[in-house]
Assembly symmetry: none
Homo-oligomer: 241 residues x 4
Amino acid sequence: MTDPDVRDAIMTATYEALCEHGYTDLTAQDIADRTDKSKSLLFYHYDSKEDLVADFVDYLVERFDEWIAETRDLTPSERLATFVDWFLYGSGDDDERQSFHTAMLEIRTQAPYNEQYRKELRKSDDRLREIAEEILRNGIETGEFTDHDPEETAALLIATLDGARIRQLTLAEDDYIGQVRSAMVARIFDDILAEDVSFPEGLLPDEIDIEGGVDGTSDLGPSSETRQPEDEHGSSEDGAE
Amino acid sequence: MTDPDVRDAIMTATYEALCEHGYTDLTAQDIADRTDKSKSLLFYHYDSKEDLVADFVDYLVERFDEWIAETRDLTPSERLATFVDWFLYGSGDDDERQSFHTAMLEIRTQAPYNEQYRKELRKSDDRLREIAEEILRNGIETGEFTDHDPEETAALLIATLDGARIRQLTLAEDDYIGQVRSAMVARIFDDILAEDVSFPEGLLPDEIDIEGGVDGTSDLGPSSETRQPEDEHGSSEDGAE
Amino acid sequence: MTDPDVRDAIMTATYEALCEHGYTDLTAQDIADRTDKSKSLLFYHYDSKEDLVADFVDYLVERFDEWIAETRDLTPSERLATFVDWFLYGSGDDDERQSFHTAMLEIRTQAPYNEQYRKELRKSDDRLREIAEEILRNGIETGEFTDHDPEETAALLIATLDGARIRQLTLAEDDYIGQVRSAMVARIFDDILAEDVSFPEGLLPDEIDIEGGVDGTSDLGPSSETRQPEDEHGSSEDGAE
Amino acid sequence: MTDPDVRDAIMTATYEALCEHGYTDLTAQDIADRTDKSKSLLFYHYDSKEDLVADFVDYLVERFDEWIAETRDLTPSERLATFVDWFLYGSGDDDERQSFHTAMLEIRTQAPYNEQYRKELRKSDDRLREIAEEILRNGIETGEFTDHDPEETAALLIATLDGARIRQLTLAEDDYIGQVRSAMVARIFDDILAEDVSFPEGLLPDEIDIEGGVDGTSDLGPSSETRQPEDEHGSSEDGAE
DNA sequence: CATGAATGAGCATTCATTCAT
DNA sequence: TATGAATGAATGCTCATTCAT
C-alpha cells in the first residue's frame, strides 16, 4: 500500500459500505463496488477482509487523533462539552452517523471472537479514555472542575455516553440520548463543575472527516460544517447551573 | 408451536448455540445440533431463522418477568442494588454470562436493520425501564430516595449500566465494570439516596433461569445459586454513605 | 450416505470427470455436471472434495476385490498372465483406460502431500501385492513355478508393470508396454516358470466394472466384454517357451 | 532470454519451488519469491507459466547430458551400476531428492494433457533410453554382457527402475526400492552379466547439479559429494555372482 | 410431526496474466 | 528490463430454506 490515495479510496468505500450494509452483511464486493477498482485488488492490498476492516478501525483512530488536536485550545469545560456532544452526536448527517455507529458497534461486537479487532478497538478506546482523563485533569488544575478521581470519572462518563449512544441506536424511538444528556449534566457534571462554572452549550469544532481531506469534497456527507446538537438537548444549560 | 416442551428445547438450544458461536456465526444447524430434533424441524416451527431468534428474545422477556416478580418484597434500595448487580453481573457462570451478553449485543446490533428484532428488543427494554422507574418511584414514596425525576434517572442509570457492560465485553481487559460501579455509587446514588440510607451490598435473588425449569437440572450452568458481585465491588457500602 | 445409489452416481461421475479433466483440473462442478444432482449435494455427502476423492479410491479397491474374486478358479500361471494383462491393459476402452490411469496417477502423485490419499492408496496397494504374492506362492506350491522368494518377485513384478504402464501413459508414443511385456516374459517369467510350463496367452475374465452393476448398461464403456491384449503383444507366447 | 544468468536464476528458483510446493501447488509467485526479481519478470521472459515449466524440463536434460558425459570412462558394468543407482537414488539430500522427483512426476502426469510438457519429457526420455541402450550395447561388445536385445532390455530396465522409484515415492513406507533393486540384480542382471562379471557396487560420479554451476555454492544442497546407496542395497554383489 | 436429501445464491479467496510506467 | 498495481475468471465451500416421504 504505497499509494495513500488507494488506501483512502478503500477506506472511504469501506465506510460507505458499512453504513449501507452493516458489518454483518458487509461483503468484499460491497466495498469494491464503491471503488473504481476490482474486488481482487482488495486482496492484493490486504490478506483478508478481516485485515481490511482492522485497518479501517486503525484509520478511524488516526482521524480521531487529528480531530482531537483541533480542540486543544478550548477550556476544559468547553472541551468536555465538545467531547460529550461529539460522542453523542458525532459527525456526518443524521442517518449516516447512525448507520456508521451501528456498523462500528457490530465490529465491536465481534471483538470477543476476534483478536485483531479487539486489539485495534482497544487502541482506539485507550485514546478515548486518555483524552477524557486529560480533559478532567486539566479542569481540576485550572480550577474549573472540583477535585475528584479523573480516571474513575472518565470511566463513568464514557460508560454513560457509550451506553446512551448504543441504546439510542439499538432500541430507542424517542430522544433517549437527549434524556440521558440532561440527566448526566444534572447528576454528574453538576458535582464536577466548580461553583461558578456551568456546562457550556455543546460546540463541535470541525468534525472528524472520515475522508481525511481538507476540502470536504468527499461524498461522506457534509462533513465540514460545525454541527450543533439538536434543539431538544439545548436544555443542557438549564440543567447545568 | 403447540407443544411448549419443543419450544423450550429449541430456546435452550438457541441459548447454548448463541453462547458458543455468537449471533453472527449462529447457524440453524448449530441450534439443531443441541436438540434431539432435526434442522428441518426448526423451519417447521418457525418460518425463518430470524423468526426463531425473534421468538428467543421474547422468551427472554418472559424469563425476565418471572425473575422480577421475585424481587417484589425487597425494599427499594435493596431492589436497586439487586437490579444493578443483576445488570452488571447477571446470572450463570462467568464465561457463559459473557458469551450470552455478547451474543445478545450482536442481536441488538441487528435491530437497526431488522424490524422484527427491533420490536422484540424494544418490548424487552420497555420492561427494563419500567422496572427501574418503578423502583426509583417506590423509593421516593418510601422516603428512601430523595426526590428526583425517576424517568430521567432511570434513563441515566440504564445507559450507564448498559454502557459499562458493553464496554467490559467489547473492550476492557481490566475490571472496568467495577470501576464504573464504584463511580456510579459515588456520583449518582449518593445524590439519590436519602441522608440516612446507604447503598446495600448487592444481593441477587434466584437468578433468571433461561431454561425456565424448576429443578435446575439444566446444563446451562449452576444457575440457582445466589451470586455475589466480586469483592472489589463490595466497596459499595463504603462509597455510599 | 444412506443411499448407495447416490454414492454410485457420484463415484461414476467422479470417474468420468477424472477421465475427462484429470485430477489437477477436476472441479466439484465437473463431478456435479455428470450427475442429475447439484454441486452442493456433494458437500452434503462429503466434507470436502478431498474426502470425496479419497472415497473414490476406496471405491476402486472394492471393485478390485470383486474382480479378483472372479479369478480364483484359474491355475497360478493363468492367474499370473491375467494379472499382468489386467495391470497393463486394464478394462474399458482404450482411451478411457488411459485417461483413467492417468488420473489415478495424478492422485498417487498427490500422496506425498496428502495423508488421506496416501492412506487409501496404500490400502489399495497392499491388496495388489498380496494378490501377486498369493499367485506366486500358489504357483510354487503346485509346482508350476520354480522356487523363489515370492515377496521379492512380487515387488519386482509390480514395479515393472507399474513403471511400464506409467511410462506408456506419460511418455511413449510407440508400443512401449508391449516391449516391456515381452522382455518381462523372456527375462523374468522364464526363470520363474517351471520347465514344462509356458506363460499363457493373457486372458482377462470379466473386467473390473467401475459401475459395479451386472448388466453392463453403464456408460463407462463396453465393460463386460472379455478383453484381449492388442495383437502386438500376442508375441508373448513366442517369447515365453 | 538473452541473459543466461537470469535463466539460471529462474530455473534454480523453479527447482526449489517445485521441491517445496510440488507442481500442483506451484505458483508464479512461489518462483518469483525465490528470485530477487518480480513475478512480472517471469512473464516478460516466458509467455506463460507453462512455457517456463517446459523450459525447466529442457534445462534438466541439459544437466543430465553434462552428467552423463562424466561417466564415459567407466566400464559398461560400472556404468550400468552407476546408472541404476543414479536412477533409484538420484542426487541431493534425501528429502530434496524425493521432493524433486515427486514434483517431476507431477509434471509427467500432466503430459497427457499438455503437448508441450509431453514433447520436452519425451526428449528427456529418449536421451535416457539411448544411454541405457548404449551401455548395454557397449557391454555386449566388450563381452561383459551376454548377448541379448539391448533395446528390449533397456525398456525393461527403465520400466522397472521408474516403477520402483515412483512406487517408493507414492506408496511405500518400507524400503521398497531396496527390495526391487536386489530382485533386479538377482533376476535380470544375473542373466545379462557374463559368467565372470558381477554387478559392481553402485558408485555415483559427480551428481547432476541442477544449478549447473561449478563452484557448488548453490543452496540446492551438498550436491557434489559422491553418494552411496544405502547399506541394505549393498547386498547386490552377493546376489550377482 | 419429523426428517434426510437437495439446492440456489453467495462469498472469500486465489492466481495467471496484463499493463502503465 | 523491470515492476507494482490491477483484474477476470474460477473455485471450494456455506447455509437458509424447501420438499418428498
